[in-house]
Symmetry: C2
Subunit: 251 residues, 2 copies
């Protein structure tokens, strides 16, 4: 049976969300059939409550339940699951004959690198959130900018973008924190291209998901993406090429 | 042939240094014969230059070469190697028939968790560096306190210790950042006790090394150690028990 995969649309660039890309990659990598249902931001909470998806956190502005995508419904089991990590765990358990995301007991180590990578992206948000608002469909833009303004305590989402010297400094910080991630990859004996060498795992799909976000949001011809694609010997743009086989956007 | 392993002494508590413990654990785990040479802090740089150990970094106070232990000399190859990670890599390559520290291509993931764990210890230094000075032999105390005062820009090493509410807050931060490390461990499918499940690897020896430092420096009967030993369901004190077999201090 076909899994229903809930994602956030962008008519301008197509599938873009880093968190939903994690699930899309997992489904593609495992070869599990799915169909995408596109949900605009203002409809996510209502849909989640209706279908019974668990909240994935609390809002930073008023501490109430926060609902987000990805989420999947698996008609073969009746399961409704939200949160990209929980979905990965579900797919591992439910479809044990498909390629594994966590080979050789590496789940704990992969959780660790995911946290470390997320910390490394610390300087990115200020640049990419305003750009993300621009690629969303108009129905989602108001919701996205309002909630991010609340979360980051700014008047306008565009105010997040650093200016002048501060911009150079913050962008440089992103590059040097990605240096650290690059050194982790470089440590692997046979030099990759994946964090486990020739074996693809959750970590690579996770990092590729964030990287796709940067690519489609800033745009392939942007200075930002050209920088990122050239950093660390082109490791991140090459990672997308090496995972191209699993990057299909099935509707 | 027997490897010469250079460590820093403490007549009061015995082997204590987290960085040298990493190497001691590796040697014990691999079952490679070694003999410890004890070197007081003021003698490390001179010895390193004489024997040809590479500096392991730059001093934060004047940017000159910094020499540190562990270091090993392997008479069977003539190699002189410093830095616990480089020693681990050397032992892996030179003694491929001994138990591996980085199974299944996990070297990159293990480098990532090591960085993440180190970041998690951020609040520890202020508490443990002054206590460390107390357990050192008198020959090393002056050097240790002087260099740490320069590095942390304080008049006296004791000034580092937070007082009153600040102490409670910083100690609480340590506990909650170790929660994060605990969650990584908890993710591993069969629930450990090691980060790869039943398989010991560098990551466990690394974390155990830092934990031994806490235990012997604060003292088994201290409030500090009792706290740490009880945190996260006793995971860290249990880790030491699970690795006891590899904790022998050979002189």
């Amino acid at each position: 049976m076909t899994i229903i995969f809930y994602d956030i649309p962008s008519d301008r660039v197509g599938a873009w969300s880093p968190n939903t890309w994690k699930t899309r990659f997992c489904l593609n990598f495992k070869g599990i059939p799915y169909k995408t249902e596109w949900v605009e931001y203002p409809d996510i909470a209502e849909l989640s409550k209706k279908l019974g998806f668990k909240p994935t956190g609390k809002t930073p502005w008023d501490g109430t339940d926060y609902y987000s995508l990805p989420a999947i419904h698996d008609p073969s089991t009746g399961a409704y699951i939200s949160d990209s990590w929980e979905i990965a765990e579900y797919l591992e358990k439910q479809y044990p004959d498909t390629p594994t995301l966590f080979p050789n007991g590496t789940k704990g180590l992969q959780a660790a690198i995911a946290d470390g990578y997320h910390v490394a992206l610390g300087s990115l948000w200020a640049f990419i959130l305003p750009a993300t608002n621009e690629i969303l469909n108009s129905k989602s833009q108001g919701y996205f900018s309002r909630t991010r303004q609340l979360a980051f305590k700014v008047e306008k989402i565009q105010d997040l973008v650093p200016k002048g010297e501060k911009a150079v400094e913050e962008w440089g910080k992103l590059q040097s924190s990605l240096d650290k991630v690059d050194r982790w990859y470089a440590k692997t004996d046979d030099k990759g291209p994946f964090i486990l060498g020739e074996t693809i795992s959750w970590s690579d799909l996770n990092i590729a998901s964030w990287t796709i976000w940067m690519k489609v949001t800033f745009g392939e011809d942007s200075k930002e993406w050209k920088d990122i694609a050239s950093w660390q010997g082109g490791r991140w743009s090459k990672l997308l090429v090496d995972l191209e086989k699993y990057s299909a956007k099935k509707d």
